[in-house]
Amino acid sequence: MTAIPLAQQFLNLFAALLLLIAFAMLSQRRVLSLIRLFAWQGAILTLSIADSAWLTHQPHLYYSAVLTFVIKVLILPWLLHRLIRRLNVVWDVETLLNIPTTMLVGIVLVVFAFNLALPIAQLSNTILRNTLGIALASVLLSFMMMITRRKAVPQVIGFLALENGLFLAATSTTYGMPMVVELGVALDVLVGFFIFGIFFFQIRETFDSLDIRHMEKLKED
C-alpha cells in the first residue's frame, strides 16, 4: 500500500470534519451554536481549499480560499449574529422530526451519497476525488436540515451550509470553478442573504413570529 502524502491526508481529514460539522448542525438546537458551527464549517472549507491549492499548485485556488474565508467565516456569521440580535431570536430550535431520527436518516443519506459518488470518483483523475462523496453527503444533510427546521433563520443557515457543500464538490472534482463563477456565486450568496434578511423582517411584521408555520395561512383554499 502506497503511503498517502501528508497534504492529502489532511485534505481527507478536513473533508471528514466538514461532514462531522454537517451532522452537528443537523442535531444542534440552538441558533447561536448553529451560527458558530457554520463559521467553523467555513473555516474548514477554507483550509481544505488552501490545502488543495498547495497540493495541486493551482494559484487561483488560494484566491478562492481567501474569498471563502472572508465571506463564510467573517461576514456571514457576523451578519447572522447581528440579525438574530436585531430580531431577538436566540430561542431553542424546535425541529419537525426528533433529533435521533434525523441523525439516522442522515446516515442513510451519507451512505447513498457515497454510493452515488463512487462511479464518478472512479472516472475522475484528480487527487481530490475521494472528497466528492463527502461533499455530496454534506449537501444532502444541509438540505435535510432545511426541511426539518421550523424557523426561518436555521433554514437560511441550512441553505448557506448547502452552498458550502457545493463548493467543496466543485473544488474536489474540477480543481475549482473559474474565478468569475466563484466571485459570482459568492456575490449571489451575499445578495441572497440580504434578501432573506429583508424577508425575515417582513415575515415577523406580518405574523409577529418567525415561525414559518404561519405562512400556511397564505394558502388559498
Partner: protein, 678 residues
C-alpha cells in the same frame, strides 16, 4: 419579361409588400391607412392570382431558401402545383373581400383611429401568413406562419373587444387554435424523428414511414388541421368566432382560412407521407360526413344570420374533408384516376366555397351594417331596401344550395360521382357502405338548400318585421364591386367547369400522378364528363340556355295569350282574421320547426311554450350544441378534478415544498447513478 422571375418570386414580393404596408399603416392617419391598406391587399391578391395560375400552368417547382430563421435552420419556400392552386384561391377569392372591406371599414376608420389601424395591421399580417403557410417548405416556417395566422385572426375576431361575448368567442378560438397547433407540432416532430435532424419538407418526402408511426402522424394531423377546419367534435369555436368577427374578416376566415386546413391535410397526407392505411380514409369520410350533417342541421335551426352561415361553413368543410377521405380511400386502393377525380372535386368545392361563403358573409355584413340586426326574427323584406345585396346574395344562396348552373352544383355533383365510383374499391364492405355516404351527401345538400331558403326568405323576402325600411340603405359602390366580384366568381366557376378542372390537372398530377382534365373534356369544353359520356355528363351552358329559353317562352306565352288581361286581383284569404301584421309571417324559428321536430335527437333543445291563457305569450326556444354536454363539459370536469388533486399537494408549508424538491433530487440522483453503473 425577366427570365429569372418565377411565380414564387412574385409571391415573395407580395409578402414583403404586405409586411411593409402593415408596419407602415400603424403610423398613418386612419384615412390614409384605409386608402393604402385595402388597395395594397387588392393589388397583392391580383398578383397572387396571376402567380398561382402561372404556377399551375408552368410546371417549374421553384424553391427558395431565405437567409432568415434560426442559425442553421433557414426558411425554405417552395411553390408546386398544390401551393399554386391555393395561392390562386387566396388571391382570387381575396380580391372581392378586400374590395368590399375597403368600403366596409370606412365607418370604423372614421370612428376609432387606433382600433382601425390595428385592424389594418392584423388584416395584412393575416393575409401574408396564409400565403406563407401555403408556400412553406419546412416545418419551421410552416408552424411560424400557421401560428401567426391564428394569432392575427384572433386579433381580428376580437376587433370589438369591448363586448364580453366577443372576448369569450376569441378566447375559445385561440384555445382551439393552440390545441391544433400543438398537435401539428407533435406531428412534424414525429416526422422529423424519422428523418433525423432536418425539418425541411424535402427530407420528410424522402423517408418512408410505416405502421403505427405513420398512423400516429395521420391522427395528429387530423387533430391539428381538423381543429382549424371545424371537424367534429372540434368545431365548437367556429360558430362562436365567425359571428364575432367583423363581416369581411368572417368572410376571410370562412372562405380562405378554413381552406388552409384542407391544404395542410393534402400536404401531409399526399405529399409528405408516402403511405396510407384503409382506415384513415374511412375515418375521414365518416367524420367528414358527420360534420357535414351536423353543420347543416344546426344551420337550419339558427336565427342569427352569421351563425347560420358559420354552421354552413362547418357543413362545407365536412364535405370537403370527406372528399379528402374518399381520395385517400381510392389512393390507398391504387385507383389513382378515380382518386384524382375525387381530389379535383374536393379542390373544386374548396374553391367554390371560398367564393359563395365569402359572398354570403359579405352580404350578411351589408345587412348587419345597414340594420345593426343579426336576429332574423327582426329582419325581413330587405330586397326592397337593398336590391343589390339581395341580388348578389341570391347568387350566393343558389350556389350554396347546390343548384345548377351555379358553382356549388358542379363540385357536389362531381363529389357524388366519385362516391358512386366505389365499385373500383377492392373492399366489399366499403363497396356496400359507400353509397350510404352518397345518400348522406344528398341529404346534406337538400338540407343546405332548406337552410338557404330560410336565410334568404326570412331576411330578404316578405315584409319588414317591425323595422323601418326607409332608413336602410343599400351597399355602397365599393361593397357592391366586392359582392359583384364574388358573385361573378360563383357564376363563372359554375359555367366553365371543364376549364376549372383542367386547372387542377397539375395538382392531381403532382399528388396522384393522374389527371382528370382530359377525361372531363372528352366531349368538348361545353360538356363536363367525369368518367365517360355514357355514364354522366353535364353542360351548364346548355342548361342555362334551356332555363333562359323556358323563362322567355313562358313570358311570351303569357303575354300573347293575354293571361294578365283575364286575371282577377283580389285580397288573399286571411283565415278569417282580418288584422294581419308583418310579425305574423313565417319566422326563422317557425321555418326551422320541422327540422327541430324531425332531428330532435341531435339537438340540445330547451323550449318555453306559453300557456293558452297567457295574455302576453312569449315563445322561446333555444338550440344548444349537444357536443358541449357530451365532450367539452366532461373534459372540463376532468381537468378540474385533476387540478384539484394537484392542488392538494399545495400544503402551503415550506418544509413540504423542500421535501418535494429533496425527494426529486434523490430520485434523479439515484436514476443517474443507476445509469452510470451500467
Amino acid at each position: 419579361m425577366i427570365p429569372s422571375l418565377l411565380p414564387l418570386d412574385v409571391v415573395l414580393l407580395v409578402l414583403l409588400g404586405w409586411g411593409t404596408v402593415a408596419i407602415l399603416s400603424l403610423a398613418l392617419p386612419a384615412r390614409l391607412a384605409l386608402t393604402l391598406v385595402f388597395p395594397a391587399a387588392m393589388a397583392g391578391s391580383a398578383l397572387l392570382t396571376g402567380a398561382g395560375l402561372w404556377g399551375l400552368y408552368g410546371d417549374a417547382h421553384a424553391t427558395l431558401i431565405l437567409p432568415i430563421g434560426l442559425p442553421g435552420m433557414p426558411f425554405h419556400l417552395r411553390m408546386d402545383a398544390l401551393a399554386s392552386f391555393f395561392v390562386t384561391l387566396l388571391g382570387a377569392a381575396g380580391m372581392g373581400i378586400h374590395t368590399y372591406a375597403w368600403g366596409y371599414f370606412r365607418t370604423l376608420a372614421a370612428e376609432d383611429r387606433d382600433g382601425f389601424v390595428r385592424l389594418c395591421f392584423f388584416y395584412l399580417i393575416f393575409l401574408a401568413s396564409m400565403v406563407a403557410v401555403v408556400v412553406a417548405d419546412d416545418a419551421y416556417i410552416f408552424m411560424v406562419s400557421w401560428e401567426s395566422m391564428a394569432l392575427s385572426s384572433y386579433f381580428l375576431v376580437t376587433t370589438d373587444h369591448e363586448i364580453v361575448a366577443i372576448r369569450r368567442a376569441g378566447f375559445l378560438y385561440l384555445l382551439m387554435a393552440h390545441l391544433g397547433a400543438i398537435a401539428l407540432l407533435l406531428c412534424f416532430g414525429l416526422m422529423q424523428q424519422g428523418v433525423g435532424g432536418d425539418y425541411s419538407f424535402a427530407s420528410f418526402r424522402q423517408t418512408r414511414l410505416e405502421g403505427i408511426k405513420a398512423s400516429e402522424i395521420f391522427l395528429l394531423a387530423l387533430l391539428g388541421f381538423g381543429a382549424k377546419a371545424g371537424l367534429l367534435p372540434l368545431h365548437a369555436w367556429l360558430p362562436e368566432a365567425h359571428p364575432a368577427a367583423p363581416s369581411p374578416v368572417s368572410a376571410l376566415m370562412s372562405g380562405l382560412m378554413l381552406k388552409m386546413a384542407l391544404y395542410g391535410m393534402l400536404r401531409v397526407l399526399f405529399d409528405l407521407l408516402s403511405t396510407t392505411a384503409l382506415w384513415w380514409g374511412v375515418m375521414m369520410v365518416v367524420l367528414g360526413l358527420m360534420t357535414a350533417l351536423f353543420g347543416v342541421l344546426f344551420a337550419a335551426v339558427q336565427y342569427d344570420i352569421k351563425r347560420l352561415l358559420a354552421y354552413s361553413s362547418v357543413e362545407n368543410m365536412g364535405l370537403i374533408l370527406s372528399g379528402v377521405g374518399l381520395t385517400l380511400l381510392f389512393h390507398g386502393a391504387g385507383k389513382e384516376s378515380v382518386a384524382a377525380l375525387a381530389l379535383a372535386a374536393t379542390l373544386y368545392h374548396a374553391l367554390n366555397h371560398a367564393f359563395f361563403k365569402g359572398l354570403l358573409f359579405l352580404g350578411a355584413g351589408s345587412v348587419l351594417h345597414a340594420t345593426t340586426e343579426r336576429n332574423m326574427a327582426k329582419l325581413g323584406g330587405l330586397i326592397r331596401a337593398m336590391p343589390w345585396v339581395a341580388g348578389f346574395s341570391l347568387v350566393g344562396i343558389l350556389s350554396l344550395a347546390g343548384l345548377p348552373p351555379f358553382n356549388g352544383f358542379v363540385s357536389e355533383w362531381l363529389l357524388l360521382q366519385a362516391y358512386l365510383l366505389r365499385p373500383e374499391l377492392p373492399q366489399p364492405y366499403l363497396n356496400m357502405t359507400l353509397p350510404l355516404g352518397a345518400a348522406v351527401m344528398a341529404l346534406v345538400g337538400a338540407l343546405a338548400a332548406y337552410a338557404m331558403v330560410k336565410f334568404y326568405g326570412i331576411v330578404f323576402l316578405g315584409q319588414a318585421r317591425g323595422m323601418d325600411l326607409t332608413e336602410v340603405h343599400d351597399a355602397a359602390p365599393k361593397e357592391r364591386w366586392g359582392l359583384g366580384w364574388m358573385a361573378a366568381g360563383c357564376i363563372l366557376l359554375g359555367l366553365f367547369p371543364v376549364t376549372v378542372i383542367r386547372l387542377m390537372d397539375a395538382v392531381t398530377q403532382g399528388l396522384l400522378g393522374k389527371t382528370v382534365g382530359h377525361t372531363a373534356a372528352q366531349n368538348g369544353w361545353m360538356w363536363l364528363t367525369p368518367v365517360a359520356p355514357e355514364r354522366a355528363s353535364y353542360s351548364p351552358l346548355i342548361l342555362l340556355g334551356g332555363v333562359l329559353a323556358m323563362i322567355l317562352l313562358m313570358v311570351v306565352v303569357l303575354r300573347s295569350w293575354g293571361v294578365h288581361g283575364r286575371s282577377r286581383r283580389s285580397a288573399p284569404w286571411d283565415c278569417g282574421y282580418p288584422w294581419q301584421t308583418p310579425r305574423m309571417q313565417d319566422s326563422a324559428d317557425g321555418f326551422g320547426q320541422p327540422i327541430k321536430q324531425i332531428f330532435e335527437a341531435f339537438f340540445g333543445l330547451t323550449r318555453e311554450i306559453p300557456s293558452p291563457q297567457d295574455a302576453h305569450p312569449h315563445y322561446h326556444s333555444e338550440v344548444t350544441d349537444p357536443l358541449w354536454k357530451w365532450c367539452y363539459v366532461p373534459l372540463n370536469q376532468g381537468v378540474e378534478w385533476l387540478s384539484r388533486g394537484i392542488g392538494r399537494l399545495q400544503q402551503g408549508r415550506i418544509s413540504t415544498y423542500l421535501l418535494f424538491s429533496f425527494a426529486t433530487l434523490l430520485i434523479l440522483l439515484a436514476l443517474v447513478s443507476g445509469g452510470a453503473m451500467k
